[in-house]
C-alpha cells in the first residue's frame, strides 16, 4: 500500500501528468470556443450546423465530451503509460528501489495502479472542464441548457465513464509494457505512438485481425463513437461492447503480466 501511495504522490506534481490532462482539457476548451466562434458559418451544408453544435448542446454534449476524451485519451494514455514506465529505467529509480530489496513486479504493478487512478481522476477532471465549457459555450451561443439535467443521460454517464476508463487504462498498460520492454522512456513513447497509428493504418487492410487489437477494442468497448481513436472496421462482424470490454481487460492484464514478468527477470545495468 505504501508503494502505491508513494507512486500516486510521485505522479501528482509530475509534468507528464499535468501536460497530459492539461492538453486534453485545453483542446476540449479550444474546440468549444471554435464551435461557438464559428456558429452560423457555413450553415448551408445539410445538418452541418447541428452536428457541430452538438458539442455544446445538452444532453447530447455529455456523450460528445466523453467520446472526445476517451478517443484522444487513448493516444494520450499510451504515451503517459510509456513515459512513466520508461522514466523508471531512464532515471534509474527502479534500480534504486530494487537495490533496497523491493520486489520488482510489486513496484511496477504499484506504479501502474497509481497510473490507473491518475487516469480516472484526470479523465474526470477533463470531463468536468468539458461540461463547464460546453455550458458556457451554449449560453454564449444562445442554446438552451434545458437538457443539462436530463436524468436518463446523466444516469448512464457513470457506466459509460467506467467503460471508457477501463479502455484508456488498457492503452496506458500497453504503453507501460512497451516502455518496460524497451527500458526507455523515449523508445516506449515512440513505439506506443507507432502502435496507435500503425493499428489504424493496418485496419484498412486487415480489419478482421485488427478489430482484436488493443486500440480498436478500446474504441469498441465504449461503443465506437469516438472522433479521434482508430475506428473499428465496419467490414468485419460487429463485436458487442461487452465482448470488446472483456477483450480489453484481457489485453490490460496481458500487458501487465508481460511488464511485471520482464521487470522481474531483467538485468538492470543502466
Amino acid at each position: 500500500m505504501r508503494l502505491f501511495v508513494s507512486a500516486l504522490r510521485k505522479l501528482g506534481p509530475r509534468m507528464a501528468t499535468l501536460l497530459t490532462f492539461g492538453l486534453l482539457a485545453g483542446m476540449l476548451v479550444l474546440i468549444d470556443v471554435a464551435v461557438v466562434a464559428t456558429r452560423g458559418v457555413g450553415d448551408a451544408g445539410p445538418g452541418r450546423s447541428g452536428n457541430v453544435l452538438a458539442l455544446i448542446t445538452f444532453p447530447g454534449a455529455y456523450d460528445e465530451i466523453l467520446s472526445f476524451i476517451l478517443g484522444l485519451g487513448g493516444l494520450f494514455a499510451v504515451i503517459y503509460g510509456a513515459a512513466i514506465a520508461g522514466s523508471e529505467w531512464t532515471w534509474g529509480t527502479l534500480k534504486t528501489a530494487v537495490a533496497r530489496g523491493e520486489s520488482r513486479s510489486r513496484y511496477l504493478l504499484a506504479t501502474f495502479a497509481a497510473i490507473a487512478v491518475v487516469l480516472a481522476i484526470g479523465t474526470l477532471f477533463t470531463a468536468v472542464v468539458g461540461v463547464i465549457t460546453a455550458a458556457v459555450g451554449a449560453t454564449v451561443a444562445g442554446i438552451s441548457l434545458s437538457g443539462i439535467g436530463d436524468r436518463a443521460v446523466i444516469e448512464a454517464l457513470p457506466v459509460h465513464f467506467l467503460r471508457g476508463w477501463i479502455a484508456i487504462t488498457e492503452t496506458a498498460a500497453l504503453g507501460f509494457a512497451v516502455a518496460t520492454l524497451a527500458r526507455s522512456q523515449l523508445a516506449g513513447i515512440g513505439v506506443g505512438i507507432a502502435l496507435y497509428f500503425g493499428e489504424t493504418f493496418a485496419g484498412l487492410f486487415l480489419p478482421d485481425v485488427v478489430k482484436y487489437l488493443p486500440f480498436h477494442l478500446a474504441t469498441a468497448a465504449v461503443g465506437g463513437s469516438t472522433g479521434f481513436a482508430p475506428v473499428p472496421s465496419t467490414s468485419g462482424p460487429v463485436m458487442s461492447t461487452d465482448t470488446a470490454l472483456v477483450l480489453v481487460v484481457a489485453w490490460l492484464l496481458a500487458a501487465l503480466v508481460v511488464a511485471a514478468g520482464f521487470g522481474e527477470r531483467a538485468e538492470i545495468t543502466g
Binding site: K10, T93, T96, A97, R100, G101, E102, I268
Partner: protein, 342 residues
Amino acid sequence: MTSLAKSSPMIDSGLALATRGLRKRYGSRLALDGLDLSVPAGVVYGFLGPNGAGKTTTMRVLTGLIHADGGTVQLLGRPYSRRDRHRLFDVGSLVESPAFYPYLSGRDNLRALAASGASTPASRIDEVLEIVGLGERAADAVSRYSLGMKQRLGIAGALLNDPALLLLDEPSNGLDPAGIVAIRETFRHLASIGKTVFVSSHLLAEVQQMADVVGIIAAGRLVREGSMQELLASEGIVRVRVRPDEVAAAAATLARLAAPDRVTPSPTEAGWISIQIAPDRISEVNRSLAEAGIFASGLSSGNDLEELFLTLTGGATSTDPEGTFAGIDPESGRSTSSEVLS
C-alpha cells in the same frame, strides 16, 4: 598479502560480505572471473580496480540488479542470491550514479525511496539529510542540485534504513574537498559503531586515508586483499642513493635483505636504488650498506597505494622518477616519506 579466506568453501561468520568464485559474463566479455572477496564486519573496505575491472558489476550482483553466472555470495553472515531480496533490507547502496526524480525535492525523493524496501520511519529522512549536509536544501527540486549535492542525496538514500552494510560505488564522485572529508568522517564513524562500509573507488589516496581493508580487482579477479596497514608495510619501498660506481655492489648487498628481483637500480637517476621492503627497515638498509663499506648519500622510505595498485593491475611499475614518492601512514594519516640523509 593473500585473500583473508581465499577460495575456502567455508566462509568465516565474522565477515559482513563474502563472495566465492563469483562469475559474470556480458556476451563474450568476462566481467567477473571467480571473484573471492572477504569483507570483515565493522570496517571500511576499499574496493579498488581500474576501469572495466568489474567493480560495478560486483556491486550490481550484490544488490540484486543482475544475476551472477556462478559463485556464491554471503551477505551479513548468510547466503544470498537475487531471490533473497529481503536480505537487502539491512543493506544500503549507491550503485553507479545516484538516481532520483528530478522534479521532486530532495526530501520527497527520500520519502519515495523510503516507501520501497525496508520500512523506514519518517523521522529518519531528516536525520540522513542532516548527516549529508543537505538539511537546508531538502525542499529544493533535485533538478536544481549540483552533481555533488546529488551524490550527497544518494548517500543519504543509502543510509536511510540505517544499514548494517553499506555498498557504495564511487561515493566521492562530484564532491568538493570539504564534502569528501565529511563523507570520509561519516564512513569512519559508521565503521566505529560496527557498521561495514564497502566502497569502490578509483581515488586511491582517498581510499588510503579511509579504508581499513583493501581489495584490488583486475580483470574480474581479486589480485590482492588485506588490511591497509599490512598491505602498505609489505609493499613499502626504500630508496637509497649511493655513488654511481657503487650501485652494483650496493644492489648485491641489498639483495640479501630483499629478494634480488625487489632491488632495482633506477634507469633514469644515476646512483638511486629502489628496494621493495617494509619502510620500517630503512635503518637496516643503511646499516647493511655501511657494513659493506658503502655510505648512502640519500635515503628515503615510503609506501604508496597507487604504486601497489598500478603494479597489481598491470599499470606502471616503477617508482616515481622524481624521487618524491610519499605515502600516508594508516594510523597517523600523515605522509611516511622521510629523507634521513641528503
